[in-house]
Structures are given as C-alpha cells and as structure tokens.
C-alpha cells in the first residue's frame, strides 16, 4: 500500500496518524503541504527518519521546490521523486491510501 500525506505536520496530526498505521509492504509519499514533514532537524523530520528503517519514504520534488526546500534540507534517506515517479509508485503498489 502506498500512503500519501498532503498536510503539514506542524498544523495537522495526519502525518503521525499515517505513520502509526503502516503495515509490511507500505511506503509513504509526502505531497503538497505534506512535504514540510521531510525537513531535517524538525520534530516531523525525526519521526520520518525513525520510520525509514522499516518503510521507504518519498517526497514530491515539485512540491519541495514550490516551498523552497532544498535537497540538503531533506531528511537523509528520503527519496525525492517527480510526478512520473509518483505514477511509478502508484503502479508498483497494489493500492493507494490518501490520508486526507
């Protein structure tokens, strides 16, 4: 299952709620305001980092750029993808769950 999160973790509890429900085979993709969660050195970034050992985490590049977050600010191990990569992730997983 591919899980997408589109909310800022500094405003909404959605990221935490998503991470609490990951099962084997899950991957997480941060999009829209959700990409703020990938910022290294923040509380959300630490949550993401501690998740990485068990689940891959991706972040949408165009949404990072829109928000002025450079690659060196992103938590190490989080993989940046473009929209084509987003499509690829959707295809590679059996289903998609959007955490709205």
């Amino acid at each position: 299952m591919l899980h997408t999160v589109n909310k800022s973790p500094f405003a909404s509890l959605t990221l935490t709620q998503c991470l609490n429900h990951l099962a084997p085979g899950a991957a997480v993709l941060l999009i829209e305001d959700g990409v703020y969660g990938a910022t290294a050195g923040t509380g959300a970034g630490t949550q993401i980092a501690s998740c990485l050992g068990r689940f891959p985490v991706y972040v949408l590049g165009p949404d990072l750029e829109a928000r002025g977050i450079s690659h060196n600010q992103v938590v190490e191990g989080v993989v940046t993808v473009d929209y084509a990569g987003f499509v690829k992730l959707v295809v590679e997983h059996d289903a998609v769950q959007s955490w709205l």
């Binding site: 829209e32 499509v87 998609v96």
Partner: protein, 119 residues
Amino acid sequence: MKIGILVNEGPYTHQASDSAYQFAVAALKVGHGVHRVFFYHDGVYNGSSLTDPPRDDRQIADRWSKLAAQHEIDLVVCVAAALRRGIRDQNLAPGFRISGLGQLVESGIQADRLVVFGD
C-alpha cells in the same frame, strides 16, 4: 495500466485539483490510461464554465477540458454534490458530464488503481 482519479476539492482554493492534473498528465505521458476523473464534494466546482481567473494564472477548468479532449478522458461531476453547490448543465464546462456516484464506484472496480486527491 488503467488509472482512476478522484478529486475532492475545488479549483484554486486547495492544491488537490492541481496535483490530480499533474499526476494525470504524467501518467498519460508514460502510456498509462486515465480511465475517468470523478469530481466529488467541492471537486464539482472544477467543472464550472464560468470561472475567469487572472490571465497569468493557470486556467484549471480549461485545462481539464483540453486534457479530456486530447486523451478521451471521462470527466464526471457528481450530480448530488453538484446540485448542492450550484453546478448544472447550464454552467458546465466542455468535456465534463454530470452523473451519479455509481460512476465513482465503477471506476474503483474497473481501474487498476484509484488515486484520491483532496484536502
């Protein structure tokens, strides 16, 4: 692969419609089919023919119409959600049609993947 898309939010206010559009374009580019885009909740506002955003901004309704025409994509606006929000045939943009929620469930059944964009 056949992909269905659900859009839950209106244009401009939330990024959902933008993300759905960019995703659809990317999927089509690599050869996947976009089976249907279903517009629910405030998503029905995407189908308004009366929007007139600033010239230098993206034309959201128009670009959905064009994408649908180019790739024969079925753009379905939920009838119940649309009536509640003032979208009817008289102010429906080209390429959109108004139909029931069954079209969303059918999209879930027939498409290989269903991707939801919302608030």
